[in-house]
């Protein structure tokens, strides 16, 4: 028991970094994904529009099609070779936000696709602007549709944040690993597991609550 209290401060400071990456990534990646998804929806006619959409699709393809671990290493260890240098924390954020925004963009795109075009048309004939239709009619429906998928990604993100280990950041996993190697005991790693479980448990609970709040209509 005393041993647990001995290593707990180190683990908790690791939790702080893990949660920092988690929170900042969400705050950056959800709005970015939403904005990008709007660019993925229309069928552009102009060459410029087509090029823009292809670029977006390429971005989503690359970031969803390669390991996040590779992206992290590429940004932190690779980019300095061509003169682009990030500190560890910024590199982690750039990789996580770009990666998760790609996933969120796909999710939002699916959500927009699932709302009937007729909802826009009904809004239009009621003399609402496109923005009003989005704000009051379409986006609330999209949010409800995407909640389960977003929730799953959010839970993945907590666990994925442990990947920052590879660029030498002091997250929860590193804190546990250091203690385990130093004191030759499994206990720190078990504790790390328990803390991750607690975090995902809280998130799952929140996800259920939010989904329930949206269940007043079908």
């Amino acid at each position: 028991m005393t041993y647990i209290f001995q290593i707990l401060p180190a683990l908790l400071s690791g939790v702080k970094l893990t949660l920092g990456i988690f929170a900042i990534t969400l705050v950056g990646a959800i709005p970015l994904g939403l904005i990008l998804s709007v660019g993925l929806i229309p069928k552009p006619k102009s060459i410029l529009g087509k090029a823009g959409k292809s670029l977006l699709e390429g971005y989503v393809w690359v970031f969803r099609g390669t390991p996040l671990l590779l992206q992290l290493m590429f940004i932190f260890y690779g980019l300095p070779i061509i003169g682009i240098v990030f500190d560890r924390f910024s590199a982690a954020l750039v990789a996580f936000i770009l990666n998760y925004a790609a996933y969120f963009a796909e999710i939002f795109r699916g959500g927009f696709g699932a709302v009937d075009e007729g909802q826009f048309e009904a809004s239009t004939v009621l003399n609402m602007t496109r923005w009003q239709a989005l704000r009051y009619v379409v986006i609330p429906q999209v949010v409800k549709i995407v909640l389960p998928s977003i929730g799953n990604e959010v839970i993945n993100l907590v666990k994925d944040s442990s990947l920052v280990y590879v660029i030498g950041l002091g997250d929860l996993l590193r804190a546990g690993n250091i203690a385990s190697a130093r004191d030759v005991t499994l206990l720190p790693l078990v504790l790390v597991g328990v803390i991750y479980l607690l975090l995902t448990l809280i998130l799952t609970f929140l996800q259920k609550r939010i989904e329930a709040a949206f269940s007043y209509y079908r």
Partner: protein, 212 residues
């Protein structure tokens, strides 16, 4: 009075509407009929500005106009074939959303909506959400939503198609009641019996003509 003159529309080079010319008379019910796929919905969408005609003109009370201009003036109300109620909003909010966004104050909008709901036998559904309504109730909410903006002309696309056949007469009765109160209506339908029971004038799409 709204006149359509020589409206043409093709999709991918295939003509759908050819020189459609018709008049929507004040206080009358016009039925636009024809077999499925002939272009009735397309015509309704052109009048409501959801589709752009390739050529032709629209004349509102003697002056040339466009569907967009008519929308800004709130001339046209539309009841869609599948109603397109907003599932995330209560019946009440479905009806008051557009008026309040256009500057009507909430109390005024609520009062108007309540009156419409009473007239359409929906008083108890005020707080309900669309998923919980029957087809007939959904249709009446869609009508109330359109009427809340005080349109001069109410357009219906296939008002009997999404309903129990037994309700067909109720719909005809409702359309005729609105007519008695002075409403101008256009009913798009492939159901000839229904058309006969409501129409003052019938326009056959595809055959290019009226038979009065």
């Amino acid at each position: 009075m709204l006149e359509l003159k020589n409206i043409n529309k093709s999709f991918n080079g295939r003509p759908v509407l050819k020189n459609v010319t018709l008049t929507i008379e004040d206080g009358k019910t016009l039925a636009i009929v024809g077999p499925s796929g002939v272009g009735k919905t397309t015509l309704l969408r052109i009048i409501s500005g959801l589709e752009q005609a390739d050529s032709g003109t629209m004349i509102w009370n003697g002056k040339p106009t466009t569907a967009q201009a008519m929308r800004k003036q709130g001339i046209i109300g539309v009841v869609f074939q599948n109603f397109e109620l907003f599932p995330n909003l209560s019946v009440m909010r479905n009806i008051t959303l557009a008026p309040t966004l256009q500057g009507v104050d909430q109390q005024q909008a609520d009062a108007t909506a309540k009156k419409l709901l009473d007239q359409l036998a929906l008083t108890d559904q005020e707080k309900a959400y669309p998923y919980s309504l029957s087809g007939g109730q959904k249709q009446r909410v869609a009508i109330a939503r359109a009427l809340a903006l005080n349109p001069q002309i109410l357009l219906y696309d296939e008002p009997t198609s999404a309903l129990d056949p037994l309700l067909r007469e109720n719909v005809a009765e409702m359309v005729n009641q609105f007519k008695a109160s002075g409403m101008t209506q256009v009913v798009v339908t492939h159901d000839m019996d229904f058309a006969k029971s409501v129409a003052d004038t019938t326009y056959h799409v595809g055959k290019g003509g009226d038979d009065q």
